[in-house]
């Protein structure tokens, strides 16, 4: 089956919407996008309050996850259409806080956190490796390696564009909030993510080459309309952890878990893409991550998360929570794809869902 990839948004009955980088999915995202793009203030904070109360599951709520994604995108500067003067506009910040407070509360209830290790470097690194090594169930990377069709491989790349075309940015927010050993460790990892001084080696740039090589668009946000709420929620989780100083432990734990579950899956992704006939231009990003994340996971576990727990034992619980949340929200994206494919369907949003 061919995935329905979106063309630029165009709604003949609503000319305003045509200027938006992606289409809203409900009242909150409509009001937020209109404010961010057209500068028209509205009652989105009240709408968000009501939507948060009414939502049966904010972690899978398209309207709220898209609104939160847009509010974070304003901080990243991800879309030229979003007016930079509105980055700190009080009502937009208020709306962001309404959604992220409810989102964080929900994650803290649904994410299973293991028993905390001692706040010592070695104990924390070992606990994080144990947590990330315990993944069970079906594996997206093994499926990609052996069974995925070319359309499914395209879908996988589309799902990944939301984060990977801006890879590493969510974790960079933590740099000025850390000191000493954890700061040096995070910068060592991020410097490698950003190419170590070589623009052509920036990981997001390598991934842009991958998606172009696969015949997809490398324009940031080109596929927002295609991805489900779980994919936005995965990105929103790291943005929330990164952008809130009080959650610095969680973003550190997130990075550790992310890097600890990367090198082996990336080898399998590359295997699958080569099986499907893709060349080195498409596979280089994944090849690179086999080697890079085998380095990063050691630094992230010991020198970043382990050292931070030792320096700031008060952050230990959030370090472990951030790691467990990373595994959970990313696992949902993987399961969403595998479940859709098992039903013979596309993992991307169909026309009827828009």
């Amino acid at each position: 089956m061919s995935p329905t990839l979106s063309t630029p948004v165009s709604h003949p009955d609503d000319t305003d919407v045509a200027t938006l980088p992606f289409a809203p999915r409900g009242p909150v995202s409509t009001a937020v996008l209109r404010h961010l793009v057209d500068g028209i203030p509205s009652d989105h904070t009240r709408l968000a309050d009501a939507a948060v109360d009414a939502s049966p599951d904010i972690e899978r709520d398209d309207d709220l996850q898209l609104a939160l994604f847009a509010l974070y995108a304003s901080a990243y500067g991800a879309f030229a259409a979003f007016d930079p003067d509105l980055e700190w506009e009080p009502s937009l910040i208020a709306t962001r806080r309404v959604i992220e407070t409810a989102f964080e509360r929900s994650l803290r209830q649904t994410v299973e956190v293991p028993e905390l290790p001692a706040p010592a470097q070695d104990a924390v690194a070992r606990a994080l490796f144990a947590l990330t090594g315990a993944e069970a169930g079906p594996s997206l990377s093994r499926y990609l390696a052996r069974k995925a069709t070319i359309d499914q491989a395209h879908e996988f790349l589309v799902q990944r564009t939301v984060y990977t075309l801006r890879e590493a940015d969510p974790h960079s927010w933590a740099i000025p909030r850390l000191t000493g050993r954890p700061k040096a460790a995070l910068v060592e990892i991020q410097s490698d993510e950003y190419g170590g001084g070589r623009p052509d080696r920036v990981h997001a740039t390598l991934f842009a080459r991958t998606v172009r090589g696969a015949g997809l668009s490398d324009e940031y946000g080109a596929y927002i309309d295609d991805v489900p709420a779980v994919t936005l929620a995965s990105h929103n989780t790291m943005s929330m952890f990164g952008l809130n100083r009080r959650l610095v432990g969680a973003i550190v734990g997130h990075l550790a878990a992310f890097d600890m579950t990367s090198s082996i899956p990336n080898r399998l992704y590359a295997e699958g893409l080569r099986r499907l006939g893709f060349g080195d231009d498409v596979c280089e990003y994944f090849d690179e991550h086999v080697e890079a994340d085998a380095v990063h996971e050691q630094i992230a576990g010991r020198d970043l998360a382990g050292a931070l727990a030792e320096d700031r034992p008060d952050l230990l619980a959030d370090i472990v929570f951030g790691a467990a949340a990373c595994l959970e929200v990313d696992d949902r994206v993987g399961r969403h794809m595998l479940d859709a494919w098992a039903r013979g369907e596309s993992s991307l949003r169909g026309e009827d869902e828009r």
């Binding site: 070992r126 090594g133 410097s191 490698d192 990367s262 086999v290 085998a294 380095v295 996971e297 050691q298």
Partner: protein
């Protein structure tokens, strides 16, 4: 200057991390290309990208004393 010192750090149950300016050579003396400042060298013998680590030691249950 002491900052130019090369360090090799053993990570428990994992690879050796090398920081600093070194040249890696294969057994025939040829240079092994290195694309990053800090590299992880395989210690368990199971990596598919030797001499670099690819994380396979974790699945294999590789254990070290330190």
């Amino acid at each position: 200057m002491s900052d130019d010192r090369v360090t090799v750090t053993a990570y428990p149950d994992g690879p050796l991390l090398v920081r600093g300016d070194i040249e890696l050579r294969a057994s025939d003396g040829s240079a092994i290309p290195r694309t990053r400042r800090t590299v992880a060298l395989c210690r368990c013998g199971l990596s598919t990208i030797k001499p670099f680590c690819d994380g396979t030691h974790k699945a294999a249950g590789f254990r070290t004393d330190t």
